[in-house]
């Protein structure tokens, strides 16, 4: 499988602050990729560079084998739903579909109309009068009917209520199955991604902490609980992600490919949410960045 998104030493600086630094990732095709991290970690910056809205300060990024927004052909292969799912508030739903048809050579009008109908949206209604969930669905419809090979969504469900959130993600998954497209989806909530994604990128403090298949990540991370001790004395193949101590007890999250033999530890598997939290508290402990909210 070729890479849908390939970044090499990618970085972006705003004035003096680095929003993203030294990002090297290689996202294989055919995946639903979750990009997770606290607010301000650089998720939007990375996604904007992937769709060509932002030029990188350092490094390179290739999307579907070409520079993002290199031309109409490249643009037509990538669908994008921006944060807060912007739509033209003065234009009706039908106007948005016409907009899509006029601006995209590969526009699939039947799919678009079918989706709008199934969602129960009134075509004559102005987008400004739609609810947040309906607007997000309209934006997703525009991006899907463009028939992209890669769909990029920036916090599409952040402002939606739980029901609308579930419906949106469900609609997204159905479309992924129908159209066989690759998806990159960002969120600061792990719960949103847990049900949808099979590949995860954890981005904290403007750096990619780890990227990989969800199954692989879960298989290679362990939670160790045992009597209090110094984590520096662990075997070399066990990389400590986070550490927490009580008076007598130490809890570690480690990444390792091998089994854990030390009988002093109680070894337990770790869930996706705890895994992300472990990386967040881990970076907080090394002082690179304060932990931000992970859950609402």
């Amino acid at each position: 499988m070729t890479a849908v998104l390939k970044a090499q030493g990618l970085g972006k600086r705003y004035r003096r602050r680095w929003a993203l630094s030294d990002c090297t990732i290689d996202i294989p095709a055919g995946r639903v990729v979750g990009l997770v991290g606290p607010n301000g970690a650089g998720k939007t910056t990375l996604l904007h560079m992937a769709v060509g809205l932002l030029p990188p300060t350092t490094g390179t990024i290739e999307v579907l084998g070409d520079r993002p927004a290199a031309g109409p052909a490249q643009l037509s292969r990538v669908g994008f739903v921006a944060q807060d799912t912007p739509t033209y508030s003065g234009l009706t739903v039908a106007d948005h579909l016409r907009l899509g048809a006029h601006l995209n050579p590969g526009w699939d009008d039947a799919t678009a109309r079918d989706r709008i109908e199934r969602l129960g949206l009134d075509e004559r209604q102005r987008a400004g009068k739609l609810s947040g969930g309906q607007r997000a669905q309209l934006a997703l419809t525009l991006a899907l009917a463009k028939r992209p090979e890669l769909l990029i969504l920036d916090e599409p469900v952040a402002s939606l209520d739980p029901l609308a959130r579930r419906e949106f993600l469900q609609g997204l998954l159905e479309a992924v199955v129908d159209q066989g497209l690759s998806v990159v989806l960002s969120s600061h909530l792990v719960a949103d991604l847990e049900r949808t994604c099979d590949y995860l990128i954890i981005l904290i403090g403007s750096r990619v902490q780890i990227a990989g298949e969800v199954e692989h990540l879960l298989a290679t991370h362990r939670r160790l609980t045992g009597p209090r001790r110094d984590p520096a004395r662990l075997p070399g193949d066990q990389h400590v992600v986070s550490v927490s101590h009580t008076d007598r007890q130490t809890t570690l999250t480690v990444r390792t490919d091998g089994p854990i033999h030390d009988p002093a530890w109680i070894v337990s598997p770790i869930g996706l949410e705890d895994l992300v939290l472990a990386y967040m508290s881990g970076t907080a402990a090394t002082g690179r960045r304060p932990a931000l909210e992970v859950q609402r």
Binding site: A69, A73, L75, F80, A82, P86, H102
Partner: protein, 332 residues
């Protein structure tokens, strides 16, 4: 892209067209009356030896519409700049919809080029139509008084309003692009446009073509006042003149001695406190003074119109080019 631009711009276009139509009706009704008044009073006034009342009668006719036209021509480019130019991009950036537009299968360059092109042409068309109607309607008025080269009406006639409209529009777009918020961009647009227009009219316009400079014996019919003071000093003779050159734009007028000095010397004795004005002017006439007048003749109206319009169009194009460069490189 054409469709989207038209769809977003439709309401404004219809509003502008409606306004122009109302104005056209008002002009169509009152214009012939004004022309008739000119033909029956001013055109024949010389025969009746009363041109002053004929002219003032014409100038006070439809004074409401006249001041409305002045206000409209003054405001139209600024309105185009703030309501069409400034929101064109800043409104998209504010609502985040540029991220929707720029991720369709159309490059940003094309997006901006079509928007700038269509809305810019519409702005110029409005400026042009407005000027066409106003120039036609006020042509009787422009034949009396200071004429159409008078700097206060020069920019409201002919083709200059097209240049103004294009420049104000491009200025608004640029301000919106740089400031990224609509209301501050509107404020900056109107401030910069007013400053540029005023400075250009006051400082630059007169010198676009080297003005005519004529030195001739003092024409006593043009003398409007005499006294002490002026450029020579407090005890020197002062002679004020008002050149009567129909249709010309007088830049400056000076009275000099036969040798060319602006110090006219002590006033003649006939100009003392106890003598009459006519005795004084007769004495001045015997001094063989000269007058130096710097002016743009009325025949240069169209040449100046083309120069000014070309400069404003060039400014508008430069701003549009800057917008294209900025959108391709700097904005997200």
């Amino acid at each position: 892209m054409m469709w989207l631009t038209w769809r977003q711009f439709r309401a404004q276009t219809v509003a502008a067209a409606g306004l122009l139509a109302v104005l056209a009706i008002a002009f169509a009704v009152t214009g012939p009356q004004l022309a008739h008044l000119y033909d029956t009073t001013v055109a024949t006034c010389a025969a009746q030896h009363d041109c002053q009342s004929a002219v003032s009668g014409l100038q006070s006719d439809d004074s409401f519409l006249q001041s409305l036209v002045r206000l409209l021509m003054l405001a139209a480019p600024a309105l185009i700049g703030i309501f069409w130019g400034a929101p064109l991009i800043s409104h998209e950036i504010e609502a985040g919809t540029h991220r929707l537009a720029w991720t369709q299968s159309v490059t940003r360059f094309r997006w901006l080029a079509v928007k700038l092109g269509l809305a810019g042409l519409a702005s110029m068309a409005v400026g042009g139509l407005l000027s066409l109607m106003v120039t036609w309607w006020s042509s009787p008025l422009d034949r009396v008084g200071a004429g159409r080269l008078d700097p206060s009406v020069f920019g409201e006639r002919g083709i200059v309003p097209v240049g103004y409209a294009a420049f104000a529009f491009a200025l608004g777009v640029t301000a919106g692009l740089l400031i990224r918020r609509t209301v501050p961009a509107m404020a900056v647009t109107i401030a910069v446009f007013a400053a540029v227009e005023t400075a250009f009219t006051l400082r630059v316009l007169f010198h676009l073509i080297p003005p005519v400079r004529v030195s001739s014996p003092l024409n006593m019919a043009w003398v409007t006042e005499t006294g002490r003071g002026g450029p020579g000093g407090p005890d020197q003779l002062f002679v004020g003149i008002q050149p009567n050159q129909p249709g010309a734009w007088i830049g400056s007028s000076e009275v000099t001695t036969a040798a060319g000095s602006t110090s006219l010397g002590r006033p003649p004795s006939a100009c003392g406190p106890n003598s009459t004005y006519s005795a004084c002017t007769a004495a001045i006439a015997r001094m063989h003074l000269r007058q130096v007048i710097v002016y743009q003749p009325g025949s240069r109206f169209w040449a100046l119109q083309w120069y000014e319009t070309a400069i404003y169009l060039a400014l508008a194009l430069a701003l549009a080019g800057f917008c294209v460069w900025w959108v391709r490189r700097r904005v997200s």
